[in-house]
Amino acid sequence: MDVVSIRDFSREQIEHVLKIADKMVPIAKGEERSVLLEGFVLGSLFYEPSTRTRLSFDCAMTRLGGRTLGFDEPKGSSVAKGETLADTIRMVDAYCDVIVLRHPQEGAARLAAHFAGKPVINAGDGAGQHPTQTMLDLFTIRKEKKSIEGMNVVLVGDLKYGRTVHSLAEALAMFGAQLTFVAPPSLQIPKEHLKQVEAMGEKPKISSSLQDVIGDADVLYVTRIQKERFPDPAEYQKVAGTYRIDLEMLKDVKKDMMIMHPLPRVGEIAPEVDLTPHAKYFDQAFNGVPVRMALLGLVLGGLK
């Protein structure tokens, strides 16, 4: 079994992963020990920098008694000599039991799955899919809110280019969440994705004003607005400022509204917000460990 795109999974399959992830939490926290994956080797191929994803996979594998090998930048590996991804994958396939791949090219994980006999887990392929992030986002909402169905989820930031947001939106719609997309018109969710989301669930709301919709939010999912998307730096400052989450912005929100962010953040959320009960982004980052433990356990056959 490969984990390439969230679209390859049914709601039941995702729920199964989330249920197992829940059982993994004490092991992920180090309160319990496990030897579930003792003797197994994870090949961790990171062609692009990543902190959270790489460390949490490494942590997940180690907590389950397995070992990780690989690289976190292609420099110094045969990749730098011009080896194709297909060849690297065929070689690593022989050295390990599961491959985790982060690559700048879209579709790289699908290609890896094609050439590998061992399971491949997509840890992000360029602007493409990042299914384990989607699963940990779903896990975080469910853990806090008990259910995803009927939750009013407001997604704010770069909804045009941030394609991990697209797979999250599709998954949330599949789980019956009510979605609101907040972005400046130039960064609003593309029509084709909006159609996908509409086909899966309720009709989402579209807005360019966070103030107008934040009061009804159960979940506020903040994403980074990338400076390089704006030809004019002044325009970037204006837009980034409009969506900045600070205590003033949180004045009239629901008491149990939760704020999520895939991190790293660069000014989208003021540090003073970290101390409020709304801030759940560090819990979210931790949740990457139990969710990835569940996936590793499932693809390696240690768990059913």
Partner: protein
């Protein structure tokens, strides 16, 4: 009397009912540039009972291979292929859009792994045949300008 703008051919292929304006793309597909052994006649903007206007391409002494037919189907799904042997229509059929497109066009997404130096052929799932909508099985990008991506 019916007026023939181009005379009948003895042996070869007549591609009829090409979507109007697509004849030059059909020529690109069948690679007339590289193969100067036969006459190729092109009719552009021909009145058609079915579709108002159409294009026609006649290739003498040559029959098309399945890959060429698949490509023609992608840019002109209603095109008819008439195989002519000794002035008679030996076979006549409408091109058919296959369910999977492999190795005949490249992914329109420059960031797609299939556009790098990897040993794979771009592959698409046909999500809809009318209008033709293709999705790259690697990067999920929807291809719209199909004529542009054909190899």
């Amino acid at each position: 009397m019916k007026e023939f703008k181009v005379t009948p051919i003895r042996n070869g292929t007549v591609i009829d009912h090409i979507a109007v304006g697509m004849a030059l793309k059909v020529l690109k597909i069948i690679g007339v540039k590289d193969d100067v052994n036969s006459t190729v006649s092109v009719l552009i903007h021909v009145p058609s009972k079915k579709a108002g206007w159409k294009d026609i391409v006649k290739i003498e002494d040559r029959e098309l291979d399945p890959k060429e037919l698949d490509k023609i189907a992608l840019i002109s799904p209603n095109a008819t292929i008439n195989i002519i042997r000794d002035y008679n229509v030996a076979e006549k059929f409408v091109v058919e859009v296959p369910n999977v497109i492999k190795g005949i066009m490249k992914c329109p997404n420059p960031g797609c792994i299939t556009n790098k130096d990897e040993p794979v052929e771009a592959e698409f799932v046909v999500e809809s045949k009318k209008p033709i909508t293709l999705r790259c099985i690697y990067c999920d990008r929807i291809a719209t300008d199909i004529a542009e991506g054909l190899r």
